[in-house]
């Protein structure tokens, strides 16, 4: 019953804010955790067609049943929201703000589920805006100067993207009299110039929302300045759903994997992969480095999509999922470091592994997976993308992908050395492992990373192979 994914969180938020006092509003945290776990569990249950099409009593025809990639995204949303809530709840100090935080995360979760379920350009816009608005507020919530400015930058770029997306929608409405994916795809098939222009505008809007270079200006600021729980949420899932997943959806359902689309995706993907990796090399701030790393990894996803063959699409989907897991993990680790030491400046940190063994060890798992070291999950998805590019004849792009992978290993090892290995500075001599709300998600996420790598054949068959269907939709 796909509609429950959007409607239940709304009802939950309304119920959670009935005027029964602050103690009652605190229930938002367990409710959010419950919804997130439930959502992931439903995807993993061995039931065919868990979210069948058209089961909503209110509305018989607008809720799509999620496709294979949609299911993967619903699973990732659940996992990331779970981690972000645990960490964010612990790191927010005031009670009233804690419940605002949890409520906004639940709203954004409903918005992302809506993005995943919508089959209509305009509904897509509506749900993208819900996620964006909740994110603006979440970033600005602590009201310190950097966070407010990061939020304002995000508002501006997101609004420009929205304008592009809406112009595109109105051109499609003019040409086809409808805003559905299928009508837009039909208009494009006729080789209509206005339709080509409109789909270009839509894709550029989504590239801005996904923080792909050269439209990434807002992303490092927003990630770095946001409160820790919110950074996890933004980096782990928000930009991935609103930008990257939506591009995959648009390309699969509307434009199709045609020559010019592939060229555009390959170019922007390669620029992102390289630029993000090199920018990450000389960052001092832990979170800022991770933000640039995110830009670089999203470049891989876009390149895999640009290869336009089954391997590439599967690689893109798997890397998107893996990235949600291991980047969330790295941000959880950075939050643990910030909580214990009060700083994210990597030059001042060092030797934390002795004092925080769980954080240090899980961070090694996540960084090796990000860099694509076998047998972890990141290795398989990167391999799929690179092989797909090579097979499709884009050998230069395949080499760029390999090269960016080497740079990734370099900056992540440098991070690990500066933060977790080496000699500990005297001022941090009496720190200890951060609490269970940091170590629980860290251990869970690295278990997923290892399991998805070691049991790759099973995961591949169960979750990734069905994604191929995206290629044959048009």
């Amino acid at each position: 019953m796909s509609w429950t994914l959007v409607v239940v969180p709304i009802i939950a938020v309304i119920l959670l804010n009935l005027p029964f006092g602050e103690g009652y509003r605190k229930l938002a945290f367990p409710a959010g955790i419950f919804l997130a776990v439930l959502q992931s569990a439903l995807v993993l249950l061995p039931i065919e067609n868990m979210f069948p099409y058209g089961a909503c009593p209110l509305s018989p025809f607008v809720f799509l049943s999620p496709d294979a990639l949609g299911l993967l995204m619903i699973l990732s949303v659940g996992i990331v929201v779970f981690s972000a809530l645990l960490v964010g709840w612990r790191m927010t100090d005031k009670t009233s703000r804690k419940s605002d935080f949890a409520n906004l995360i639940i709203l954004a979760m409903a918005g992302m589920n809506g993005v995943i379920l919508s089959g209509d350009l305009f509904s897509l816009y509506v749900f993208l805006e819900i996620v964006a608005v909740s994110s603006f507020i979440l970033i600005a919530m602590d009201k310190n100067r950097e966070a407010l400015e990061g939020s304002f930058k995000y508002i501006m770029l997101s609004a420009v993207a929205t304008i592009l997306i809406l112009s595109s929608i109105s051109v499609f409405l003019m040409l086809t009299g409808s805003t559905s994916f299928s009508a837009a795809a039909a208009a494009l098939k006729q080789g209509n110039h206005a339709a080509v222009l409109a789909s270009g505008l839509f894709i550029i809007g989504l590239l801005i929302k996904g923080g792909i270079a050269p439209f990434h200006g807002w992303l490092p600021d927003a990630y770095t300045s946001a409160p820790a729980g919110v950074s996890i949420f933004l980096a782990g899932i928000v930009t991935k759903t609103t930008g990257i997943y939506t591009i995959i959806k648009l390309v699969s359902y509307v434009t199709g994997y045609t020559g010019p689309v592939k060229e555009i995706l390959l170019f922007f993907g390669a620029v992102s992969a390289l630029l993000g990796a090199f920018a990450a090399l000389d960052q001092k701030n832990f979170k800022r480095m991770l933000a640039y790393s995110s830009i670089s990894q999203m470049g891989y996803v876009i390149m895999g999509l640009g290869a336009g063959n089954p391997l590439g699409v599967m690689g893109a989907a798997f890397h998107l999922f893996n990235h949600a897991i291991f980047k969330t993990q790295l941000f959880v680790n950075s939050a643990a470091v910030e909580q214990e030491t009060g700083t994210l400046n990597m030059d001042r940190l060092g030797g934390l592994s002795d004092k925080m063994p769980v954080t240090g060890a899980t961070s090694v798992v996540a960084l090796l997976s990000t860099a694509g070291v076998p047998p972890l999950s990141g290795f398989w998805s990167k391999l799929l993308v690179i092989v797909a590019l090579w097979v499709a004849g884009y050998k230069i792009y395949a080499l760029i992908a390999v090269f960016a992978g080497v740079v990734t290993l370099a900056y992540l090892l440098s991070m690990q050395r500066r933060v977790f290995f080496g000699n500990i500075s005297a001022s941090f001599s009496n720190i200890k492992e951060a609490g269970v709300s940091f170590t629980l998600p860290a251990v869970l996420l690295s278990t997923i990373t290892i399991a998805a790598g070691v049991f790759f054949p099973y995961v591949f068959e169960k979750l990734i192979i069905p994604v191929q269907a995206l290629l044959g939709l048009l």
């Binding site: 608005v133 400015e149 501006m156 609004a159 304008i163 409405l173 003019m174």
Partner: protein
């Protein structure tokens, strides 16, 4: 396409880009945070006009009105949140000059 439709379309093809240019120019050039939001509002007006035109030309005014109303609701919420953020920035900087924002590394 009837002659009347073509004429109307031609008219809008002259005026719509002008409004878009005014909005984008405002967003890019201005240094005042509130004025940046005004620029965004102008752009939103242009998009609203495009949707209304699309509905009129294709005879689907009911549909386009439903879309415009949703669009306006979202527009109000975004502007209210953005105004809240601007207000808080002012409380910190005591200034609305966007140049003070560049303190963040790009």
């Amino acid at each position: 396409m009837t002659q009347e439709t073509a004429q109307l379309l031609r008219l809008y093809i002259v005026f719509l880009p002008l409004i878009f240019v005014a909005g984008f120019y405002c967003v890019i050039t201005t240094r005042n945070l509130i004025r940046t939001l005004l620029g965004l509002e102008i752009l939103t007006k242009a998009v609203t006009l495009m949707l209304a035109l699309a509905g009129y030309l294709t005879g689907r005014t009911a549909m386009s009105q439903a879309l415009i109303i949703t669009l306006i609701v979202i527009e109000v919420v975004v502007i209210a949140v953005a105004a809240g953020v601007v207000l808080n920035i002012f409380r910190h900087n005591n200034s609305l000059d966007a140049r003070n924002i560049r303190s963040l590394k790009g």
